[in-house]
Symmetry: C2
Subunit: 278 residues, 2 copies
C-alpha cells in the first residue's frame, strides 16, 4: 500500500508503547505508514539485530533513534559513563540503519544552579562524540525541550540555544530536532526554523499537541494531534519553507492513549495526521 | 524595628495565604519586613478600605497588587467585561496606595491556536487601560509567565515578548515584571533585564524558586527560596545593574507551605531571603 499523503510519515514507537515491535510494524505496514521512530530500551528488549531485521524486512524506514544525551554531569566517572553510553547509542543507530540519534542533553546536576556551565559541558561532549558518530553515518540531533524540563532533563530549552550549540560543528554531524510540543509557544521559533533550514540543521521533525491541564511530573501529558494548542500546518509550512524535505514523526507520551487498544490508537493517529497536518 | 538588610523586602500575601490580613501585617511588622504584596480576592474579602487603612496604619508599603489582565477573549461581551474588571483593579490599586498592578495577560481562547492574534488583543487592551491607570497613578506591569502556561493562562512567555508589548506605551504607564520562577531558564534573560532597566520598565521584581517534580496542573509547586534551581543573587545583580532600586517581593504558591503554620512559614521566608538572596 502506498499512499502519497503518507510519504515521509513516521510513528514513534512511544506513541503506542503498548504494542510489541512486531505488532507495531505490522500495523504500520497495514496502514501504509512508511516510517518508524525507535527508542533504545524497547529495541534492546526485543533484541537489536532482530529489530533491525524485522523493520528492514517490512520495508520500513527508521526515521530516528531516541535517545542519547545526558551530558551535564560534573563527576568525571559519571561523565565517562555518559560518553560510553552515547557511543553505544550511536552504534545502535547505525545497526538500525537510521542516520539520526536524538539527544536529550541533560538537566542541572544535583545542587547546581549553573546553566551556562551545564550548556558548555554539552558542547564538550558533542566535540567528543560527533566525529565518532560521523564515521558511522549517524548525525547527532539536539532536541530543545520545553523550558519546564530545564532543571531536571534538558538545559537546552529553545531552538536558538540548540542551534548555538549545533553550529559549533559541521551540519552533517550535529543538527537539531523541531518538536512542536516543545517549541509551539515561542514567538522566535519561525526565525529559528529558517536559520536551521538554511544551515541544513533540521535532522528530525516531530509532532505532538499541547493540552492542559498538565499531569503531575509533566512527562506523560502530550496531546493527540488536534486536541490542543498546536497549529501543525503552520509548523509544516515553516519547516518545508526552510528547505526540509525529510520525514515527520508523531511522538506522543500520553497515559490515556497508552491505556487504550494500541491498534486503535495507531489508526487514530494516522487519521489525525491526515486531518490536522496536511 | 528597622533592619537595613530588609530594606525593600516585601512578602506577597499568597506566600502565606493561610494567614488573615491582620495576622500577616502583624507578622511582617514584627519581623521588620517593610513591604506587602496583595491579591484582589483576599483584599475584597477583608474589605478594600479596611485593608488600605490596616496596612497604612502599620506603616507597610504595598509593593504590588495582583492581578489584572486576561485580555485575550475574542467575544466582545467577554472583552468588555475584562476591561471593566481591569478598571476596577486599577481603582483598587490606587486606593491601596500601590503604583503597580500586575497583569497576567491571558491564554488562548477555547479552540484558538492563534498566538499572534492573542498577543495583539493584549496590546489593544493596554491601549485602552494605560491612560486610565496613569490618571490614577498606577502603572501596568506585564508579567511574562513560564511557557508552560502559554495555552491556558498567559501567551506572554518571555521577557522579550513582554518588553515588545510594553515598549509600545510610555514607560511610566506600562512596564514588566521580572519573576525568577518564570524566567530563570532563559539564556536571553540578562539581555532582557538590561533592556528593561535601560527603559525604566522594571515595575516589579519577584522571587520564587523552581523545584521539581511539578504537581498536576503546575500552579502550586513553586519552591521556597533556596530549595531549587534559581540563582537569586545572579538575578538581583542583573536587575540592580540595570538600574532597578525598587522592592523585591517573594511570591510562592506551594501546597506544602500553605499546609504549615503561617507564622512559621513567614519567619522561614525572611530567613531564606537573607540566606539565599543577599
Amino acid at each position: 500500500m502506498c499512499d502519497p499523503e503518507l510519504t515521509g510519515f513516521s510513528v514513534n514507537q512511544m506513541t503506542v508503547k503498548q504494542l510489541s515491535l512486531p505488532e507495531l510494524v505490522k500495523g504500520l505496514v497495514e496502514l501504509g505508514v512508511p516510517g518508524i521512530g525507535l527508542w533504545r530500551e524497547p529495541v534492546a528488549e526485543y533484541g537489536l539485530a532482530a529489530a533491525a531485521r524485522l523493520i528492514r524486512d517490512a520495508g520500513l524506514s527508521v526515521t530516528s533513534l531516541c535517545r542519547g544525551g545526558f551530558f551535564t554531569a560534573i563527576d568525571p566517572a559519571e561523565r565517562a559513563a555518559a560518553l560510553a553510553d552515547n557511543r553505544s547509542a550511536i552504534d545502535e543507530a547505525a545497526e538500525l540503519a537510521t542516520d539520526t540519534l536524538v539527544l536529550v542533553s541533560g538537566g542541572l546536576p544535583p545542587g547546581s544552579r549553573d546553566l551556562v556551565g551545564a550548556r558548555e559541558r554539552i558542547a564538550d561532549a558533542l566535540a567528543e562524540l560527533a566525529p565518532y558518530a560521523a564515521e558511522r553515518g549517524v548525525r547527532l540531533a539536539i532536541e530543545p525541550l520545553h523550558p519546564m524540563y530545564a532543571a531536571d532533563r534538558c538545559v537546552v530549552s529553545t531552538l536558538a540555544q540548540a542551534l548555538d550549540l549545533a553550529e559549533r560543528f559541521p551540519a552533517e554531524q550535529v543538527g537539531i530536532v523541531v518538536d512542536t510540543y516543545h517549541l509551539w509557544w515561542d514567538d522566535t521559533v519561525a526565525a529559528g526554523i529558517a536559520r536551521a533550514g538554511a544551515g541544513d540543521r533540521i535532522h528530525c521533525f516531530q509532532f505532538a499537541d499541547w493540552t492542559t491541564p498538565l499531569p503531575a511530573g509533566v512527562l506523560t501529558g502530550r496531546g493527540q494531534l488536534g486536541d490542543g494548542a498546536v497549529d501543525f500546518r503552520w509548523f509544516r509550512r515553516e519547516v518545508e519553507s526552510a528547505g526540509y524535505a525529510g520525514p515527520v514523526e508523531v511522538e506522543i507520551f500520553n497515559d490515556g492513549m497508552w491505556a487504550r487498544d494500541g491498534r486503535e490508537v495507531l489508526a487514530e493517529t494516522v487519521a489525525r495526521y491526515r486531518e490536522h497536518t496536511l
